[in-house]
Symmetry: D2
Subunit: 281 residues, 4 copies
Amino acid sequence: MHVDRSTPVHRITDVTVTSQLIGDFADTFRTGANDKVIATDTQKNTVYALARRHGVGSPEAFGLLMARYFVDGFDYVSGARQEVTMDGWDRISTTEGGPHDHAFTRSGSEVRTCVVTKHGAEETVISGLTGLTVLKSTGSEFHGFPDVPYTSLAETDDRILATAVSARWRYTGTDVDWDKSFTSIRQILLDRFALTHSLSLQQTLYAMGEAALETRPEVAEIRFSMPNRHHFLVDLDRWGLDNPNEVWFAADRPYGLIEASIVRDDAPPAPGAWEGVKGFV
Amino acid sequence: MHVDRSTPVHRITDVTVTSQLIGDFADTFRTGANDKVIATDTQKNTVYALARRHGVGSPEAFGLLMARYFVDGFDYVSGARQEVTMDGWDRISTTEGGPHDHAFTRSGSEVRTCVVTKHGAEETVISGLTGLTVLKSTGSEFHGFPDVPYTSLAETDDRILATAVSARWRYTGTDVDWDKSFTSIRQILLDRFALTHSLSLQQTLYAMGEAALETRPEVAEIRFSMPNRHHFLVDLDRWGLDNPNEVWFAADRPYGLIEASIVRDDAPPAPGAWEGVKGFV
Amino acid sequence: MHVDRSTPVHRITDVTVTSQLIGDFADTFRTGANDKVIATDTQKNTVYALARRHGVGSPEAFGLLMARYFVDGFDYVSGARQEVTMDGWDRISTTEGGPHDHAFTRSGSEVRTCVVTKHGAEETVISGLTGLTVLKSTGSEFHGFPDVPYTSLAETDDRILATAVSARWRYTGTDVDWDKSFTSIRQILLDRFALTHSLSLQQTLYAMGEAALETRPEVAEIRFSMPNRHHFLVDLDRWGLDNPNEVWFAADRPYGLIEASIVRDDAPPAPGAWEGVKGFV
Amino acid sequence: MHVDRSTPVHRITDVTVTSQLIGDFADTFRTGANDKVIATDTQKNTVYALARRHGVGSPEAFGLLMARYFVDGFDYVSGARQEVTMDGWDRISTTEGGPHDHAFTRSGSEVRTCVVTKHGAEETVISGLTGLTVLKSTGSEFHGFPDVPYTSLAETDDRILATAVSARWRYTGTDVDWDKSFTSIRQILLDRFALTHSLSLQQTLYAMGEAALETRPEVAEIRFSMPNRHHFLVDLDRWGLDNPNEVWFAADRPYGLIEASIVRDDAPPAPGAWEGVKGFV
């Protein structure tokens, strides 16, 4: 937790950092030689010290700062992977005094994510968000799927569509206004989710990603992992009650998990940049 | 999930109901006689049917509806306990069209809670909220505690104060504008958290509860369960860095859990109303 | 984590302690006076110091040790509530050397629990376990429940019965061989779950509790909280397949939660001993 | 949940299946055409039907059965990825009658895992386990790490070593006695964890993997993800108490996560087989 106290109106930045170093560490595993092991505890202290020296800023900027510190500073560290997630906080607005100088409330379960990978001089930034739960109470159909063996699902032209969006997008470079780009892409995703008349969660997902690529030239590709949070219409027929799409049961399991990558045609390749990114192939 | 489709501008109500019935069910346990067992599955169906017949409205109104249905309708059901929690959803505001008719996003991890207890004609309503995480980056002290054996904590006159508020309040009756009362109490809690200069989380808690009782005469008592989410200032001295309350470590465990009841002097008693309410004695 | 290294064959004890003190602490809340606040940090240190001085032993013995330390040592502490949970570890048995001196594996998700309450000289011990998941693949019926409105569940004379047992039992005194009593009661619960032909989870629960009271005179009462982990037989009829109780779907929600107390007729009362015990009224 | 009732001594198999199909499904995303979408609900029904027709057997056998069903049966399905996890159950042993015919208890939080990938005729099986928590109370050192900036960790020649093992191993083919191979590898991992005098968790991990490859020729490579569950010795000096490695604090965060692959020199390649496997690059 970093508190910017440079004015009486505090700004707080709440991040969790996962620091991984890349290099020839085979002997560490094979012989127990620890002379190249920058200890977990040391990496933790480095996070604190760099935050004190430079502040945190955006997750992307801090991830790059960490990666450069390690890759530039240690000859046996050839690369680094820094994951930075940020929890959001809103300023409390009080009845008596409006927005408060130093009191905050957690904005929700949504988390902003970032993975910086650096191999020598080559740097890749993947930003994203997770835990953005959205729902449409109409404007969603699902039909036309094949009637293969063991099919029993009924077709529908009006269902609830709900999902928790995890999205990650890779930038073409590092000369980006990170906060501005994040805010814009998040709004694009919400716009397309709300305004697309949905024929499937797959089609909605694609519309969200396509719009992000079309609007933000700094984005090379975008990936989604979106569980279908099925809502089933409750059948009240046997008790003489109709149910015109009013009362639904939100099922936990089983669920469909829809995932896809949408890549700009001329996107530069980034081998390995997606390795180990949770929830994505 | 109830969808009010009476106009094109949908309203959604997302509740989870726990239904418990009270009566002389000893034989069920002793002999396996099930003739008084209103099955889990039946109680579930009743939730759906009543939601279809009457809508959901507020958690309090729906809890009372359920309790009255069971206690008035079955002679071997002498009482009921209905717990209704509500997840919040905000309307998505799109760039093109502003607030959307039927697209929503989950507001966060905060949940509105309600427990209705009915014994014969006597009804008690306890409302509340949980998961309201708040933080002050200054305006919080902690000192003056006794230096008994095994004390090593340093005193401080400027620390981060953070907690996740669980609050439950009991109403004096059932003739209440539930939504209005809830909204007002929630704001009072935020106001007092933000505006109280804190000498301890205990003192802040009391200020929050006292203000609720003073402002809302319909509230008989209020209880809190507030874990102290300790933030420790990182010591960077050994590397020649100061740390003027800027970089903090948010610790998971151990933590202090501060709990208290604040009861109006002339509050009517409600024996048993708090039984089984999670997180509260 | 306490390691008994008195012989090369180490014994480990893995406990989590929740320490609460009882007294007139109203001023702490009302005025912010902290002179009676034995800080969270101090109570934590006390756990470590007492563990070093006396070892941990059983959860019950350690809870009593903690409670007596605080109640006897501080005149403004009139009572204490100490909750001690213990995670189990099994010794690893190696191919080459059999049971290992100092290597262990976690036994599972089951946890042994204990709550010690002390008001002045009066001490109450409630022991228990949680997370003991059990299942019978036959020998369980459920029928005879009333066909009230909104009933649609079919009767069955052969179903899967599954639950996660949380049990807590109160002792009549403190002169008990805690480990021996715990081991015996745990086995009684398993025996009765397995050997009772079940007409309902309620009836099974009662049989488990009755046997514990009949066998262990040191137990005054026993309480259970047992969620019905419903398994539904999958209907494969439409594809010409029968399903003679072979393929089941384990549903998450909704579920029935069966709870009861079974009290010995001449059990001494223990007002307040159950307050704040999770999952129990 | 599959119950084998072919004899009065029931055998139960408790699996969770994740079914994913591979093919040219771009139109589904781009246009909302669902004619190639084998619905979630259909895939779920297929799991049940195949379990009824063929039983479950081992996770590996069932994963292969599912993959072959889809790839061989649908011309627009070119590949499949089937993940099968299995929860363990032990037979309850009763006091009166010994091992019970049809009563079971969950063995713990450990889960057996399996990922089957099939591209056309090419099949790859990756088996594993997760949630195997192990601890050594001595026989573990950690020193010799470099004293780079921000290092403050003290060297030690006697610490607690604890981790939760996630392991996944890829087989060279599919002609394997799955259950026998699994049981053997699990024991090898436990043996090596217990019997290796540890200079670091990295070195212990490698010893575990090397032994698996040396003993089981059917294994091509093995990967581990092992969080270092740090236990810190409590400093009781200020109260005049020593602490000869007896009382420890188990910290939650931050922690080191040790991961590695150990590959047999002549292992056949398996491009893409590890994609999307949780917790592994």
